[in-house]
């Protein structure tokens, strides 16, 4: 295994789905259901059984809109406000209307959600305004349940192939070029439609531990979706709205205030005092977190040590089996007992992820990107604050729309020279006698991301970032060296990461205002609704460099009153309350 072999195959399908984590499997199931004759391929760089952000499960639905607890209008309003107004509401509103059906479908797959004594969904309040959090105390079963459905529906699964570039022709998508991660053999997949569900760009900033894979996101989510969409000419929206999360220091996993909050846990400063009213993750909340640290009141902690034994035991049980179960090992190693000590938190490195913020490939309410036949769903598509249920639901939209699209389409012709060019690019690091290994290219890129792009954002630093990135790119293109197919996968990931770093700098420089709290805090600029109440769309320019333009926010479907607009700006606990 891992030795580099020369080879290339070509296969055809109606719908190619890249990424078998969350959105991808649901897209496959829905497409197959709507168009049983369609030939569908679900392709993953890892193994669909355990790939993606939820490889070990998930502890809850953070954004369920369940009749009796919340309305689609209320949810749409909340997310619009939480995302500082920059939101094409149609995609959020459709999600809010249809996600309940998806929950019921997941339930029928055998995925368990918390129910009360009457058998009703037991929804909790974590957000500022509405009630949307549905716990999954047995959420470790998600991937297995999904996999069973994929087998039942006879979806063709191809594991351990990494898509590296999309093929386009006749103004639409034509397929993808893929490389085997254990042999470096190529697979060209011709497809009438392509659905991308490749997750976040989670390996962009460098964790403070210095460990390249010690990321919040599954470290295999290295931004290929963003890079491939960019090189294919798709538009990417609001990339400057970074993902930055409040995490357990060093462990870099979520502290899970969404799990602990409804049971009485909360985010506190070093004095054990609450300083934010709402633990829901938003740019404004992260700004308060940052200010607390700057004000000398840190570190910031998750506080559980005031809770009753049985409450702590239940929190522990859930957090130590679901999503990031090594959390238990971590706390044991540090001697942290939730009953006695608070859990030290910190501010994460940056990434792109719409699951938590709004940085993603631009899509509409059908999950269509700006390229006909190309869809995106989940963390990499720009529907804000979309989380796991958003990935499932928009994955479903993509699958259904693609099933209709391919019924009327034939394969688009593409230029064979594109395949040769991509083979040359991919294999270049295998043709050298020695050089720089991919881990060093990646480390340097990500260290520079931390040095120059981590907010607060400063213009001069971002210009320096661009200069340094160009130097690393020259090294990457001319001197990167790999010894086997596994290292080649890392080399390709390093290339995606560098593309994302360039996009992050360009997008952040373009928006000359501050917005989204810490996510886009440009210290030289105030918020400027007059000039910047708009999306920014980044595409690959004619010169091969990122180009940005403004795009209007579509008229709201759900009106927001003037006095509701700043609900998320009022996060800080008032001094009188804090002193109690």
């Amino acid at each position: 295994m891992d030795e580099i072999r020369d080879g290339i195959d070509q296969i055809d399908c109606d719908i190619l789905i890249i990424g078998g984590g969350t959105a991808g499997p649901m897209a496959a199931l829905k497409a197959k259901k709507k168009n049983p004759k369609a030939n569908i391929i679900l392709l993953d760089k890892a193994n669909v059984k355990r790939s993606g952000a939820i490889c070990m499960g998930m502890d809850g639905l953070n954004n369920s809109v369940i009749p009796g607890y919340a309305t689609p209008e209320q949810y749409t309003k909340e997310i619009t406000v939480a995302n500082d107004g920059i939101c094409d509401q149609a995609a959020v509103y459709r999600y809010a209307q249809e996600c309940y059906g998806i929950i019921q479908e997941l339930d029928s797959f055998g995925i368990r959600f918390q129910k009360d004594q009457n058998g009703e969904y037991d929804v909790k309040k974590v957000h500022h305004i509405g009630t949307y959090v549905l716990p999954m105390p047995n959420g470790d079963t998600v991937k297995k349940a999904l996999y069973r459905q994929l087998r039942k529906a006879r979806i063709n699964i191809i594991n351990r192939y990494m898509a590296t570039r999309l093929l386009t022709g006749e103004g639409r998508v034509a397929g993808a070029i893929c490389v085997n991660t254990r042999s470096a053999e190529f697979l060209v997949v011709r497809a009438k439609a392509v659905i991308m569900g490749l997750g976040a760009a989670g390996r962009l900033g460098l964790p403070t531990s210095g460990y390249l894979y010690g990321t919040y996101e599954n470290a295999s989510n290295s931004g290929e979706g963003y890079a491939m969409a960019y090189h294919a000419g798709a538009g990417l929206a609001n990339l400057e709205c970074y993902q930055i999360n409040p995490l357990i220091k060093d462990y870099n996993g979520p502290a899970c205030a969404y799990v602990a909050g409804p049971m009485g846990g909360y985010t506190a400063n070093a004095r054990g005092e609450r300083f934010i009213e709402c633990d829901y993750w938003s740019g404004q909340m992260m700004q308060e977190f940052f200010d607390e640290l700057q004000g000398g009141k840190g570190p910031v902690y998750l506080k559980l040590n005031h809770l009753a034994e049985e409450t702590v035991a239940e929190i522990e049980r859930v957090l130590h089996i679901v999503e990031r179960p090594t959390r238990g090992h971590f706390h044991r190693g540090r001697g942290t007992d939730y009953r006695k000590q608070m859990i030290e938190m910190h501010i994460s490195e940056i990434g792109f992820c719409s699951g938590h913020s709004a940085s993603g490939v631009f899509v509409d309410e059908h999950a269509r990107t700006t390229i006909p036949g190309l869809y995106a769903a989940g963390d990499m598509a720009n529907v804000p604050h979309n989380y796991m249920l958003g990935a499932f639901t928009h994955g479903a939209f993509a699958g259904e729309d693609a099933a209709d699209y391919v019924a009327e389409m034939d394969f688009a012709a593409f230029d064979q020279a594109d395949i040769e060019a991509e083979r040359t690019r991919v294999l270049a690091p295998t043709k050298r006698e020695d050089g720089i290994p991919p881990n060093q290219i990646e480390y340097k890129t990500r260290r520079l991301v931390n040095d120059y792009l981590q907010p607060p954002k400063v213009t001069a630093k971002m210009h320096l970032a661009q200069k340094r990135f160009a130097e690393v790119r020259e090294d990457m293109e001319n001197a990167m060296y790999v010894r086997d197919a596994h290292e080649l996968m890392r080399a390709l990931e390093a290339s995606s990461i560098l593309d994302c770093a360039d996009m992050a700098a360009a997008a952040s420089l373009y928006r000359t205002e501050s917005r989204w709290g810490l996510y886009h805090n440009r210290v030289e600029y105030e918020r400027d609704d007059e000039n910047w109440f708009c999306h920014t769309i980044l595409t690959k320019g004619d010169d091969g460099m990122p180009a940005s333009r403004k795009q209007d926010v579509k008229p709201y479907v759900v009106d927001i009153a003037e006095d509701e607009k700043d609900a998320y700006a009022k996060q800080r606990v008032k001094p009188s309350v804090a002193a109690e």
Partner: protein, 80 residues
């Protein structure tokens, strides 16, 4: 530029006595999202899984899915 041989300690540990790679099992290798595990063959011809690449997200499918409980996921030293 020649490459160095810098040592690094790895977080995933496999108990050789419990590992059944000899019988053809590759579950941990198959499920790893980062694809960091491989099967090693000793001089005597016996097989066991091991962590070949220090690129671990400490996520735990290898430990959870191992049919004999042979795999333990520790925290990478840099962050533990």
């Amino acid at each position: 530029m020649p490459l160095a041989q810098t040592a690094t300690t790895v977080p995933v540990v496999v108990n050789d006595d419990l590992c059944i790679a000899d019988k053809g099992c590759t579950v941990c290798v198959d499920v790893c999202p980062l694809d960091v595990l491989r099967i090693a063959e000793t001089a005597e011809g016996s097989k066991t899984a091991y962590m070949k690449y220090d690129e671990c997200w400490y996520c735990m499918p290898c430990e959870a899915d191992c049919p004999t409980g042979a795999v333990t996921v520790n925290l990478p030293y840099l962050l533990k």
